[in-house]
Symmetry: C2
């Protein structure tokens, strides 16, 4: 404590109530049945209330050897997706007496050799989302129990993984677009070194490559509306037959594609079908509303936390990817001209 009077300790409460520190700990820890009389217990509680006592968590954590706190590492908070992940994780955590501390990966936050140098909280475990491989090995250094979200099961160094069924999502998208009659595709890919985006690219190429008479062009852009717009604009302005459908790795990229289409005078979905992936609020804000793949962020967070709890208790985490669902809206239609 920096200034003035220090915070009251359990010993202060004990003195005020005329009992021993152990009695205070018993009463406040709700372990006093048959050990302390009701009247004494009430006197202790009263004294604690009077002094405004709050237990020192550092001391408690040290004594107990655990903190009942886990860290949720997310790449960024620039979409509400990870808010959902947090909400789900925190819900399950709360049911088990755990707390969740959120740690957005630092971008320009300053040099941290260890990515958790600035998350000083004492932790029992970590849930990390969409980590790059090098960051993963760093994080494995802390031998804390670890669950990886959206990460390559093969390359996760033995950590438990929980994944969305992105492969199936891409399948649904391609089935939808191929069914509408599209043959020439542009893949607007997120310029992010993350396994989940590699899966998108790989699966898309496989699905479309399977069909004769199709073409697939790929262009990369950082996940920002403006970057997506310029990338799309230059790709669409290229000579040769224009793609009739753009598959975007992300709703935000899709919003950029919308802007590119507008600037080129292309109408959606008449001249150009566009799909996203996430189903953010953004998807229904733009016109026409975006056909996209809905990811259940909260369920994702819940499953992640459940897996971590399993690891902490020495159990085997539940298997199985989380299903995703194509939501068809107004941004996709059959291609107009052959």
């Amino acid at each position: 404590m920096a200034h003035g009077s220090t915070r009251p300790t359990s010993r202060d409460v004990a003195q005020a109530a005329g009992v021993s520190q152990a009695a205070v700990s018993l009463v406040l820890g709700d372990k006093w049945r048959g050990r302390v009389s009701e009247t004494t217990a009430e006197r202790v509680r009263e004294a604690a209330r009077e002094l405004g006592y709050r237990p020192n968590l550092a001391a408690r954590n040290l004594r107990l050897g655990h903190t009942r706190t886990v860290l949720l590492v997310v790449p960024a908070l620039t979409t509400e997706f990870f808010a959902g992940v947090y909400t789900g994780a925190a819900r399950i955590a709360a049911q088990h007496g755990f707390g969740v501390v959120l740690y957005p990966s630092p971008e320009g936050i300053g040099p941290a050799r260890n990515p958790f140098a600035s998350a000083q909280a004492a932790l029992d475990g970590i849930i990390a989302s969409s980590m790059a491989a090098d960051a993963l090995t760093a994080i494995r250094g802390d031998q804390l129990p670890l669950v990886m979200l959206d990460s390559d099961p093969a390359g996760s160094l033995g950590a438990a993984t929980v994944n969305l069924d992105i492969t199936d999502g891409i399948r649904q998208v391609t089935d939808h677009l191929l069914g509408l009659g599209h043959r020439r595709f542009l893949h607007l890919a997120a310029d992010v070194a993350s396994w989940t985006f590699e899966v998108r690219a790989h699966e898309l190429a496989a699905r479309i490559g399977d069909v004769p008479g199709t073409s697939l062009l790929t262009v990369r852009a950082p996940i920002s509306i403006e970057d997506a717009r310029t990338a799309t604009e230059t790709a669409l302005a290229a000579k040769g037959p224009r793609p009739t459908a753009i598959v975007c790795d992300d709703d935000k990229l899709a919003a950029g594609a919308y802007k590119a289409a507008r600037r080129l005078g292309l109408r959606i979905p008449d001249d150009l079908s566009i799909t996203g992936l996430d189903d953010l609020a953004l998807a229904t804000a733009i016109d026409p509303e975006l056909t996209t793949v809905r990811l259940d962020a909260e369920l994702f967070g819940e499953r992640g936390m459940q897996a971590l709890l399993a690891v902490l208790e020495g159990r085997e985490p539940e298997e199985g990817d989380i299903p995703v669902e194509l939501v068809v809206r107004g941004s996709t239609a059959p291609p107009s001209a052959p």
Copy 2:
């Protein structure tokens, strides 16, 4: 530690290096100059590396009496605004050896008598954003150093406050719209019990009420695109002369207003001017791009952290609201018909 071998302690390192625990603490704490020889220091560091030693933060925090960790309480993460606040706060914090733990206010996370029961981290201080008054008194119960963001300076129970100059933002919006010739206004207000939104309503009424021949209708909606759409739609469908400009408390509300306008066949900005507040990514995703008030979220977070550091060091926090800036885009124009 739950399973298997317990983590190595500084004593284990000491034993491995053949020195005392104190020496380890000295070396690893970088306080060994003139106390330990370079060769011994290196031996200690080597042993620590070998064992994968990481200090027990609970023990350190207990010993030191502080945690160099502060809590940032935000109402929700459904927009990227608070991501910016975090980024700014974390940047300043890192410069001073502090960490920031993010705590999105619980919605359905479970019953927490104390809003911080689930944020179990041991803290040195709290930065709380846009809190309702009742939550504030609860939080003041923990006598931790506290900085309030976007909160009534008069009613903040002596806590330091840092505010955006929303009053000026509303002034800029009304000047802009009145200058364009608008006289009939609709205020699409956020249905949130927060001081900053009261300020918006109050200032708007004052600014517009000052001008003869004006009218101001207010309609409330939760901050969601769909709620905003329905609220706006019913308001615009009412009989009587239609408003020519909609002032929204928030960009997301504005996106809802766009959708309402589209469904009513009103063109933006020809038939209807719309303004937002925040300047989220959303603002440039919709068509036409939204005229809105840009809030510098990162600066907001920086100033909040600086204020908290000042409080922690017993200094007086810097005074003065954070300037905001009207960004004029395509959603506002002079009204068409008189």
